[in-house]
């Protein structure tokens, strides 16, 4: 931080000079012997002033070779005031311009379109070009919640010049049916009926029946022999059925792996918009190869890119090697994959009764069939459309 100068000392008794400096408490560092009569050293500004007398006593000549440090820099800048002013103003401009929002992004929306949210935000004032201090984000969040009743939560975050609107949509509850409206129970899944508990209404299926999606399980239209008009009731209850979840997997037991031999050939290309110019594009020396392509583009700001790209293509020579996979290992892998996949489909309330695994090998292909049998409630209420409606 403190300024120092690099000096050259020329003379015959350089050791004497150093000793005098020590004596006078002139701090020297990085002393380097250039040749027999020349020495190079660093010395502080204050030390340099008293150096002249020492040099005279030792019979040496001192030359300044370089000035370093803050005081010299400040002295230089003093002569160029406009530069300082310019730097200051450009800094201010940068700070000022970074208070504007340049980009608004909506994430987390699934059913509500992004455009609708953005349009509404624009109306209320949050759009690219507004100052970040001019908008009240908390108020904006409330406005959004009022405008879009489907939203459960809205959070607007500003990170620099980038506004991120995070929304969480309400999970629509299953359509609630009034207790007085007549309903049927229908199947939501294919399965084999295991148990029917009809708390209201007449059961239409019995144990062992095979039902498909949409089949009537418990009817809300109750008719008895002695009744003239059927009675419409609100059927409800549970219908447990065995459902089957199936997954098929196949896998090649022979894997062709490409191994790099270590030979490499690179090629560069320059891309202007759609036109591609290859630089030094020789013919490829390999027959089997892997290409690794890296694009370097000059980006100005976030997503704005210049239409100039440098493409670097690295060609690696490869040798194809066949590798056999152990049947047991493959089975285990497939099983794991299948179970993972099926578990996502099975509802949490479901009770797994049994799993069936069946492997078949055809040539180099191992095929696996995975069936998980689950006991679950498949009943869903559905309104009966009566003639009165």
């Amino acid at each position: 931080m403190r300024g120092y100068v690099i000096i050259r000392i020329e003379g015959l008794y350089l050791e004497k000079f150093i000793n005098y400096c020590i004596e006078r408490e002139i701090y020297l560092w990085n002393i380097k012997r250039v040749n027999y009569t020349t020495l190079e050293a660093c010395v502080g500004i204050r030390g340099f002033k008293s150096l002249r007398r020492v040099a005279r006593r030792a019979g040496c000549k001192v030359y300044l070779s370089q000035k370093n440090g803050y005081p010299f820099w400040a002295h230089k800048i003093k002569k160029r005031k406009m530069l300082l002013v310019g730097a200051f103003f450009s800094l201010m401009l940068l700070i000022f311009s970074s208070t504007f929002i340049y980009n608004v992004d909506v994430i987390g929306n699934e059913r509500i379109s992004e455009d609708a949210i953005l349009e509404y935000l624009q109306e209320t004032g949050l759009k690219p070009g507004t100052n970040r201090y001019a908008v009240d984000l908390r108020e904006m969040e409330n406005f959004l919640l009022v405008e879009f009743p489907e939203l459960a939560w809205v959070g607007i975050d500003l990170s620099g010049v980038y506004a991120r609107v995070e929304v969480v949509e309400k999970v629509a509850p299953p359509p609630k049916i009034d207790k007085d409206t007549p309903t049927d129970l229908v199947a939501t899944k294919n399965g084999v009926i295991d148990r029917v508990i009809a708390r209201n209404g007449d059961a239409m299926v019995k144990k062992g029946d095979i039902v498909e999606v949409g089949d009537l399980l418990v009817t809300g239209i109750v008719s008895r022999q002695y009744m003239e008009n059927p009675l419409y009731v609100h059927a409800y209850g549970e219908v447990y059925a065995k459902t089957y979840y199936e997954a098929n997997k196949s896998m090649y037991l022979v894997e062709i792996n490409k191994h790099k031999t270590g030979e490499k050939f690179s090629r560069r290309a320059l891309k202007f918009g759609e036109i591609q110019l290859s630089l030094g594009g020789n013919n490829l020396p390999f027959t089997d190869y892997i290409v690794e392509q890296t694009n370097k583009s000059l980006s100005l700001w976030r997503n704005i890119k210049l239409p100039v790209e440098i493409i670097l293509e690295n060609y690696y020579e490869v040798v194809e090697v066949e590798e056999h996979i152990e049947v047991e290992a493959a089975k285990e892998m497939m099983h794991k994959e299948a179970v993972e996949e099926l578990m996502n489909q099975i509802p949490l309330e479901g009770e797994i009764i049994q799993t069936k695994v069946d492997f078949k090998q055809e040539g180099n292909t191992l095929k696996g069939k995975f069936i998980i049998e689950v006991l679950e409630d498949i009943a869903q209420q559905k309104k009966i459309i009566t003639e009165e409606d």
Binding site: E15, I18, I22, E25, N30, I31, K32, R33
Partner: protein, 91 residues
């Protein structure tokens, strides 16, 4: 060694004081072959990039090496960096 020095040495032994302080001897610390610290020196006799001679209480200390650089030099201490090959006392 003079008579007074001998007395000083025996006092230092008796009181278990460090001898470099009592006898005004140099304390030399060598870090690998890269750096050498000499405390309590009495001045430089010769300095070149391959050889440095420093005057101390117990004779002349000669340091031989390559690209020797006086990193730091104050009244009590000298720091030398470079490739150090040898350090020896001469009379």
């Amino acid at each position: 060694m003079k008579k007074s020095d001998e007395i000083k040495k025996s006092i230092a032994d008796l009181l278990e004081l460090p001898q470099d302080i009592m006898l005004d001897l140099p304390k030399i610390t060598v870090v690998g072959n890269l750096q050498i610290y000499i405390e309590n020196h009495k001045g430089i006799l010769e300095y070149s990039s391959t050889r440095i001679r420093i005057y101390t209480k117990c004779g002349v200390l000669r340091i031989i090496g390559k690209n020797l650089l006086l990193k730091n030099i104050v009244v009590e201490e000298i720091v030398i960096t470079g490739e150090i090959n040898g350090v020896e006392f001469m009379d």
